[in-house]
Symmetry: C2
Subunit: 383 residues, 2 copies
């Protein structure tokens, strides 16, 4: 009899049920289930069946889902291993930012776009959305692989770099570049990430046993883990980085201390909410973009450039690891997910990105997300 509870279970049933149904179909066809979950969003979303429309509640569940996804991934990653690959990962991240940016800018400029619009599209091609890759690698039990470690570390660095690029581009759009502000943002973002990555695990290992032994209400370990997750997500967002980086760092800080029960409980939340993130990506794909030939052509070119530029840039960054790992790392960095969309949306809000270009970026983000899992499966298949 509760007010809106009729809608909540129905929305849960439709999104969760269709995502899991298509995941099952895809796995039977030997395709990645994750692609099925994204396509479930396309199918039930406004583009095709129109059963479900993006609402604030659904996007909140999607945001929570991706937080738990990265938290869960963080739980499987040891900080010292990530720091070990830090230098190489930085190389991968930096080249993986420069190449897509230059290529994206060049394409839009050649296509006759305005200078600022070209910068925005370029910026939207920069930041990797690590959620998809992490999910594929995690489900294959490959998070300890050296290529996986570099992908994860590079994605974190890449997010910090992406933030700086976005800050510069936004300043250009406002026709005033505040160097001091930019430097402050960069220092804060980089500092936050380094501090948590370096000392997070040690602090948690030291503080957690004291706290756990002194508290009594409910499932203390799980509750403390949740509070750390939300606190670091908030702190990351406040430091100007994506909240999901905070979630990842929270998970990583707990990797040594979290027991089986905390992991199972976290898995429950992730298993329930991640489909909302995946289906949410599909839901946002506006298929009407394909009604104009020029937009289709541009979308395909930008999509190809987005894939190629990460393959080349990130691959080159990992040249000392040999061709197989170069390919794996390049592919792992391909998905842009929601980050690119947010950049383009910001550009549209500022009035410097047009609607067709926005849809091109959304298409690029969704398509790179869709193509990554099958490519990853191929690249990581044992010979």
């Amino acid at each position: 009899m509760s007010a809106d509870s009729t809608n909540i279970p129905l929305a849960m049933l439709v999104v969760f049920g269709s995502a899991k149904l298509l995941a099952e179909v895809f796995e039977r066809l030997k395709l990645p289930g994750i692609v099925g979950e994204i396509l479930a969003g396309v199918l039930i979303g406004p583009s095709v069946l129109g059963w479900i429309h993006p609402t604030t509640v659904l996007s909140a569940l999607a945001d929570l889902g991706v937080l738990f996804l990265l938290f869960q991934v963080g739980l499987e990653v040891r900080a010292h291993e990530l720091i070990r690959v830090g230098r190489l990962a930085a190389q991968v991240a930096i080249l993986g930012v420069i190449v897509p940016f230059v290529l994206g800018w060049a394409i839009i400029t050649l296509a006759g776009g305005a200078r600022i619009e070209a910068f925005f599209v370029a910026a939207s091609m920069v930041a990797t959305s690590v959620g998809i890759t992490a999910r594929v690698l995690g489900s294959k039990g490959l998070l300890q692989d050296v290529a996986s470690q570099i992908i994860l570390a590079a994605a974190v660095i890449d997010d910090v770099l992406g933030l700086i690029v976005l800050a510069v581009v936004s300043s250009l759009a406002r026709d005033r570049v505040r160097i001091l502000e930019l430097v402050a943002t960069a220092v804060l973002a980089i500092g936050f990430t380094i501090v948590i990555a370096r000392w997070g695990t040690r602090t948690v290992s030291f503080v957690a046993p004291h706290l756990v032994s002194r508290l009594q209400a409910g499932d203390v370990r799980f509750n403390l883990a949740m509070i750390l997750l939300f606190a670091l997500s908030v702190a990351a967002a406040d430091a100007g980085i994506a909240a999901i980086v905070g979630a990842f760092l929270a998970g990583m800080s707990l990797a040594d201390t979290a027991g089986e029960r905390v992991r199972d409980m976290t898995n429950g939340v992730a298993e329930l909410l991640v489909p909302f993130f995946l289906a949410g990506i599909g839901m946002r794909l506006d298929l009407t973009v394909f009604y104009s030939f020029n937009t289709v052509a541009l979308a395909l070119v930008i999509f190809a450039a987005a894939v190629a530029s990460k393959l080349i840039g990130c691959g080159l960054g990992a040249v000392q690891l040999g061709r197989k790992n170069m390919l794996r790392i390049g592919i792992g960095m391909v998905p842009r997910g929601e980050v690119g969309m947010v950049v383009a949306q910001l550009g549209m809000t500022m009035g410097v990105v047009t609607k067709p270009i926005y849809t091109v970026v959304v298409f690029m983000a969704v398509a790179t997300t869709l193509i990554a899992p099958p490519l990853l499966n191929m690249a990581f298949r044992e010979e």
Copy 2:
């Protein structure tokens, strides 16, 4: 960098963190943690600090939380045990509906309220909100106790009866009573509950092994449990009963088949989301009602009547179980929670319930919810 993800982690941190903090404080004071979580909502809500305001996202999380709470309770309850106490529970439920209704109607009529308004307040005092009681009994490991079994079964029946009362009262407010429609609603609601309670467990035990062995995508058992949960919640709402009754029946249907892992994963979701339900109750309490003496007086009288009428009605219904169990059952049926609020809100939307009377009902709902846990603790304390 995601659009609104800054707000989601912050809202999670504030609500979840404050609920767990106050739960801890209360447990240390030997008071029920659940009361702390509700008071956390009062504290951070618009009445006191104003850090958090009820939003669609927060109430969606609260709705999900109460679904998982009842699902979790259902998992601990065997259907045949509930059916065993069915006759006695029906007796408890029926008397527990009649006494509060008559008392509520009499008080508002004596206080000079309109006929329809009196009916609405009376209807709002009918339905027990079993979430709080179930949570207290579950945390004390008392769900197998005979009094607990009767409370749970009576609360399910009571919800069905409450629906019929609400349907009658709404018809009266519209000045046309459609007997046929009312009968159809009643038959559907009663039929649905009986069918699931009687054959749900058997069907699941028969179907689940076949499904589980044939599916491959992800955590199959957990996903199937979730789909059953949402499907029965939707079906219950469609049948005109509260979605939470469907959630409870889904859990009960799975009580024999769900393994340790499904339970742990479910606990994770419940542990995360139930605080949103509890704090949400507190958040809705409008303390400004206390600025008028008459409203305070009426609120206290209605509150006292709400407690006394369930104690007397439900107690009398369980007279053959002896005084101790009569008291336990009566107290267990006291909380009205969100159900009463929804009835009053409906009355306000229809223009037959005034604002002060609405706040009186909300106060009654919150206060009965707050008073139940300590009373339950006392009633269930072993001599």
